[in-house]
């Protein structure tokens, strides 16, 4: 018997999409039965109360969670989100319901023994409810009490060789697309770089020295499967400098509609028939720079004019491959709308090599220059993008020692309101008005 009636939630058990309600209910029952005899450190009916309070929200159309108090593990500025319910009498199981952010592995690959251990820990010390994963990328362990925090942290670090992720005004858990591990488009090893950066900057991740949050996301190519350009203060996007490699035979297979060469690697094998593949229309005609030609059964790409948008490669992965001189671009400043409106990442470094042998020196230099500036100049709760807006893109170039170039803009300024530095202007700014008046009467 369920502890709380949940008539509204129950209606979410039907329909084909996996029902979180069914899952929660099953978990609640399982916990009630406790066949494994776990010595739960959270109330046994925590999930029932979670369902109950959620039902109440469905009824009221309002949340029933209060502001989180400042809870955490000793010495860390983040990794835990405090949460208390505003109806503790009726739902004592979730009176305190903090989450812990566990730093997910690169590429989100797992061995089951790891996951099972984590589940055991969470059944024992938490609600047994998780998010796999949070939007930033962490494993979210959803709901435990203050007292358990250090215990869980202890087990994670001692028994599982696993640290917490970020929250608060610090470096957030970096995350990546799967990259070279399973993707032929990857221009660098995202998993290796994200792992390196996460370890290199543990201090920044755990001990807030920043004005506000800071996010790294790493995409292996411009397809942006981890959406770095939309939601990371620093976005690392793989790209290449040389030519797209062309397998002319394979191109012709696509043209001949060879079934082993389906358009876009089969992404259109659905219920709609789009007709035979048409190279001219589907590739050449859609190339944003129109830099491709197909003549006498040969494809030609004017690589100097290619912007590496990935379209042609996506459509014909067996025929076209990314170049060999690969690296990454860095874009900066993406963020959600609060306060000044959302921003997308802006291109700061068009190309850098990705070199594990020198500990990615070229990359860490850019990162650290930016942090130095932001920590010096950033106001409380000011994201990097906002600081760039406030002090100007020029300032960013200055502090990173990067030369301005047309690649930095999608178009040059439309207003002529240019600031000059005094030393750029011959004679400087101090002038003698009396001297001037000799030639120009009042």
């Amino acid at each position: 018997m369920a502890k709380h009636e949940t008539p509204l939630l129950d209606q979410l058990e039907t329909g084909p999409w996996p029902s979180f309600v069914s899952d929660l209910k099953f978990q609640a029952e399982k916990r009630a039965k406790n066949e494994e005899g776990i010595e739960f450190q959270m109330p046994v009916d925590v999930v029932e109360d979670l369902l109950g309070i959620l039902e109440l929200s469905f009824k009221h159309g309002r949340t029933h969670w209060k502001h989180g108090g400042i809870v955490g593990v000793f010495g860390y500025g983040g990794g835990v989100i405090g949460r208390y319910c505003d109806q503790p009498k009726n739902f004592p199981g979730v009176e305190a319901f903090h989450t812990m952010r566990v730093n997910q592995p690169a590429g989100k690959y797992y061995k089951t023994d790891y996951l099972k251990t984590l589940c055991d820990l969470w059944d024992f010390r938490g609600s047994g409810i998780t998010n796999m994963h949070g939007s930033t990328g962490d494993i979210i362990l959803l709901g435990t009490t203050t007292k358990q925090l250090e215990e869980i942290f202890w087990t994670l670090t001692h028994d599982m060789n696993q640290d917490l992720g970020g929250s608060g005004s610090n470096l957030r858990t970096p995350s990546d697309c799967l990259g070279q591990s399973r993707c032929e488009y990857a221009c660098y090893d995202t998993n290796a770089l994200v792992y390196f950066l996460t370890n290199e900057y543990q201090d920044e991740l755990h001990r807030p020295a920043f004005p506000y949050k800071f996010k790294f996301k790493l995409d292996g190519c411009p397809n942006c499967c981890v959406a770095s350009i939309a939601r990371s203060d620093m976005s690392f996007i793989g790209t290449w400098k040389d030519d797209i490699r062309i397998d002319q035979d394979a191109v012709n297979k696509y043209v001949e509609n060879d079934p082993a060469y389906p358009a876009n690697a089969g992404a259109y094998k659905g219920s709609k028939d789009w007709g035979p593949f048409d190279l001219e229309k589907e590739v050449l005609g859609l190339c944003p720079t129109k830099c491709m030609k197909f003549e006498n059964k040969k494809m030609f790409i004017d690589n100097a004019n290619c912007t590496r948008c990935m379209h042609c490669i996506n459509v014909m992965p067996r025929a076209l491959k990314i170049g060999k001189e690969t690296g990454l671009s860095i874009l900066v400043g993406a963020k959600a709308p609060i306060l000044d409106g959302a921003q997308m990442g802006s291109l700061l470094v068009p190309f850098l090599p990705v070199n594990p042998d020198n500990d990615y020196e070229e990359i860490t230099e850019v990162i650290e220059n930016i942090w130095d500036w932001w920590m010096e100049e950033g106001k409380n709760r000011e994201r990097l993008g906002e600081l760039i807006m406030r002090q100007g893109f020029q300032k960013l170039l200055e502090v990173t020692g990067i030369d301005p170039m047309p690649q930095h803009v999608s178009y040059p300024r439309t207003n002529p309101y240019i600031f000059w530095k005094e030393d750029e202007v011959p004679g400087g700014w101090e002038r003698d008005v009396d001297e001037y008046r000799k030639h120009h009467q009042r």
């Binding site: 039907t14 739960f40 989100i81 690169a106 796999m132 939007s135 659905g270």
Partner: protein, 382 residues
């Protein structure tokens, strides 16, 4: 419920403490075929919705079956995932950046048993546990946030709206009939933890009433200067308030006409709650994208200014979403993302073919750049 200690001693927190060890090394978690062929993949193919093969230069192949799932997940379900991975995949499994689960096998003959196993598992209520799909020119899982399950500022629920939406979009999760991939995202307040601002379709929780002021407690609970400076429209001023009991307290005053209900003050100060049954609801945005393919990444646009919270299935919301998806399916060219389609036909036609109302709320009036969105052209469609 006896407290069991790990050995942690709160008196001596530094004793035997381990910190700053970061995440587990990904190398431990790669399936062998991945470890072997990393960086040497030749190409891939989507064999059917949710089923991919990647072929390495070595000739090795890895077959991936992608399944959808609520990312709000119990340990029971994770354990079930582990069981499947143990049974079919030598104990390896991965999650995607959109909260799908991927099971990988290294030979074609392992594929059918895996698929059958996955497809057969259902929850007691009848929904699939592991529906196969989410690839290619279709709709994949909805990125979302906490909603009423955990956060203090949501204007709607996350898991609930997502379940409702995915149920109506389900056939497109298991199909690839659309002109291009269509990404739906969800965030339960303007903080936009789902970063929905660049999604083909975005569901956004939205308040419509200025904060209530809990004057009696405000100064005790909040730092007034922080609350004041939190407001993007400078609607909040410090104020002295006389309570009903005659006592005068320090508090704040909110100029309601200047407020656009962002909730940033509430983030800084719990004595300024916004939530309201009738005030809160949903904004729909559309036409954003993230990839650099063909066109630049772009922001989503607000296309429905408000829909009420209709628990538990938000029918007005799912209807509007379905209308957009169907109009897009019908009207867009192959490879054309929703936003590119809307721009090509013109937003005036978008509203027409999606049967959405255009209201004054959809005209930008935030900051000076608003005027860049007005039509500065004599070109338009009647």
């Amino acid at each position: 419920m006896a407290f069991i200690s790990t050995g942690y001693n709160p008196e001596k927190p530094m004793e035997n403490r381990i910190t700053d060890i970061g995440p587990r090394d990904y190398n431990e978690f790669y399936p062998p075929v991945i470890a072997k062929n990393k960086g040497k993949w030749s190409h891939h193919e989507i064999l059917a919705p949710g089923v991919l093969v990647h072929v390495a230069d070595s000739g090795d192949e890895v077959y991936t079956v992608r399944v959808g799932g609520a990312r709000l997940m119990s340990t029971s379900l994770i354990n079930e995932i582990c069981d499947i991975a143990d049974k079919h995949c030598d104990g390896y499994v991965r999650f995607t950046t959109r909260n799908n689960v991927e099971f990988m096998v290294d030979a074609k003959d392992k594929l059918e048993p895996l698929k059958n196993d996955l497809a057969s598992r259902k929850f007691a209520g009848g929904s699939f546990k592991f529906p196969i799909g989410g690839t290619g020119a279709g709709i994949t899982n909805i990125i979302h946030t906490q909603g009423w399950i955990h956060c203090h500022t949501p204007a709607t629920d996350a898991s609930g709206t997502v379940k409702a939406a995915m149920d109506v979009l389900f056939s497109d999760f298991q199909d690839m009939r659309l002109p291009a991939q269509l990404r739906v995202s969800m965030a339960c307040c303007l903080n936009m933890c789902g970063a929905v601002h660049c999604s083909d379709i975005a569901i956004l929780g939205y308040h419509r009433k200025p904060p209530m002021l809990d004057h009696e407690y405000l100064d005790k609970v909040c730092e007034i200067p922080l609350a004041v400076s939190a407001c993007p429209t400078a609607a909040i001023k410090p104020a002295k308030i006389k309570l009903d009991n005659g006592k005068e307290v320090k508090s704040v005053d909110v100029k309601n006409e200047r407020c656009m209900y962002c909730g940033n003050c509430y983030t800084m100060c719990p004595s300024m709650p916004l939530a309201d049954t009738e005030g809160d609801g949903i904004v729909l945005m559309a036409g954003g994208k993230v990839s650099n393919r063909i066109s630049d990444p772009k922001f989503s646009k607000v296309v429905v200014a408000f829909l009420p919270n209709e628990m538990p299935r938000w029918p007005s919301m799912t209807d509007a979403i379905q209308r957009m998806v169907e109009a897009y399916a019908k009207g867009a060219n192959k490879y054309e993302r929703l936003g590119d389609w809307a721009e090509r036909i013109g937003w005036e036609k978008f509203f027409e073919v999606c049967e959405l109302d255009f209201t004054h709320h959809l005209i930008d009036d935030f900051r000076q750049q608003a005027y860049m969105s007005w039509r500065q052209s004599a070109q338009f469609k009647f």
